[in-house]
Amino acid sequence: MSDASPADERVKDISRFRKALIRPELGGMVGTVAVFTFFLLFAFDSGMFNAQGIMNWSVVSAQFVIIAVGACLLMIAGEFDLSVGSMIGFAGMMIAIFGVTLEWPMWSAIMITFVICITFGALNGYIVVRTGLPSFIVTLATLFILRGFTIFIPQTLERKTIIGGIRDVAEGDWLAPVFGGKILGGLFTWMGDAGIIGVFERGTREGQPVVDGIPMLIVWAFALIIFGHILLTRTRFGNWIFASGGDADAARNSGVPVNKVKILMFMFTACCATIFATCQVMEFGSAGADRGLLKEFEAIIAVVIGGALLTGGYGSVIGAALGALIFGVVQQGLFFAGVESSLFRVFLGVILLFAVILNTYIRRIITGER
């Protein structure tokens, strides 16, 4: 048997361009460059690129990243979670109920909230794999159930839908700063003193830098990107995620525990939503029943802009993170540029449509369909 049979003359060498096109992150990379070029040209003087401005859109982008990483891995595993937004509202409310109303120590309120929310995620997953129903419908039900509880519980217990005072309760707690704290404060003070970034010129904070540290929200976003990317591309579990979303039956025939993979991904998505919610209530100091509205769609849009296929089996965490970055930069950038904010929705719709069309085209290249 010849070990080097001649190359098949009908297999055309694919061009570098097409090869690059197959990488799921490409759309996100091009989009990121385009968005930054645009705002550097048209909004450079608006303060968008000074320390405060950068922190502004970084925080917004990081919020999108946290939920996009969860949605991305779940979508690659072949499922959706529409309950992310409600889960954010619900998780925030749980922390407030346990921490403020029931006066539990903050760390235990946060922990019990994680347990409850991840259990709901597992329940979503269990129902989906057990019944074989589309996750779209199952999690749509969860969307309403969780939102209903988020309004009902505080109204029954406190006769209001916004519970404040979380910051006072969290004072001195060991776990709360992991979500609500800031790091590298010393570095920013030094940069302020050295004149690299601006300092407040009057008021009670005179002399302090305008940005006094990196919020833990951003740290969480980076941690989740790194974790998700390594899990997906460098572990056997990552291979199972791709396989479960690519073709669940073929994966099962090869001995991949598809149901387990899917349930775990639902749990991970719920975990990401809870991280988001915890950071948010620590920042605002309050929990509101309307928090997280429409976040599920924003997460899915970021993931799709990042090159993942809605049908599963293909995508990248880096791409989803870039999608989230585009999302955050454009949303805040239009504000800086003084553009009417309703146009953001127009932009969102257009870019979503464009991304989906591009992704379908890319899938044809990969699978060789015509």
Partner: protein, 259 residues
């Protein structure tokens, strides 16, 4: 000849009031290609699903390497060395050949206490195996979707062999393929058989069976019509047995012997 690697004795399978298999006996030896022929509804699929652990037989015995076996699920059968290559549902088009090849059997290496997917090893092995099977890949990261149907079957067979299959069940591997691709798959079957693996080749195409088969068993209406070795039977006789004889002969006559 030595003992058969797998013996199926009087296998019966009932689904409620339907008797899908009414006592089928087949034995397969290592290094032979045993063709299982039968028309649609003859019970071929039910029979191989019993062999590969998907169904539990209602009655009858499975003896694998001299031991009576009782498979709880397909994973048991795979662990014992019985691999099934399905016509569809074997490969995931969006994933690379290398990721597909090792799906469910991913090699890992430890880095800093964590287990990581050993892509380097996976890619090297995949390229070697594919070259041995005569498939030219652009690279191990080429998506399976770009391969032809015959190449996908070949990858699936190569994968089963690589992971230590002793009995390879091929469920109609050629039924959706063109002439050239069929020839490639048949050549692969021949190569695998020569490595000493028992091949169970399910088909309803007599010519494909005749091309590689050592022995032929015909199923009809859930029963074994008989087993014949190569040279003991002509393609026409096989065709007749599959179709249930007389009826088909008349039909064939009216079609001018083209079937």
């Amino acid at each position: 000849m030595s003992d058969p690697i797998i013996q199926m004795k009087n296998i019966e399978k009932h689904f409620g009031s339907v008797i899908a298999l009414a006592g089928v006996s087949v034995d397969v030896f290592a290094g032979e290609c045993h063709c299982l022929l039968g028309d649609n509804g003859a019970g071929k699929s039910t029979f191989i699903k019993t062999m590969s652990g998907v169904h539990k037989p209602t009655a009858g015995e499975i003896i694998f390497e001299g031991q009576p076996m009782d498979f709880a699920d397909p994973r048991d059968a795979i662990a014992a060395g019985i691999a099934t290559v399905h016509q569809h549902l074997a490969m995931i088009p969006l994933m690379s050949v290398s990721r597909n090849f090792f799906m469910g059997n991913e090699p890992t290496k430890k880095v800093a206490g964590f287990n990581f997917f050993d892509h380097e090893h996976a890619n090297t092995v995949t390229m070697q195996e594919m070259r041995a099977m005569g498939i030219n890949l652009r690279g191990p990261d080429q998506a399976v979707g770009t391969l032809s149907g015959g190449e996908r079957q070949t990858v699936a067979i190569a994968r089963a062999v690589h992971f230590g299959a002793k009995v390879l069940i091929l469920d109609e591997p050629t039924s959706a393929l063109g002439v050239r691709q069929t020839a490639n798959v048949l050549a692969t079957i021949d190569r695998v058989r020569k490595q000493g693996i028992a091949v169970v080749f399910i088909t309803h195409n007599v010519r494909h069976a005749m091309a590689v088969g050592d022995r032929f068993t015909v199923l009809n209406r859930g029963q074994t019509l008989g087993t014949a070795a190569r040279g003991e039977i002509t393609p026409e006789e096989l065709q007749d047995m599959m179709a249930g004889g007389q009826e088909m002969a008349t039909l064939e006559g009216s079609l001018g012997g083209t079937v």
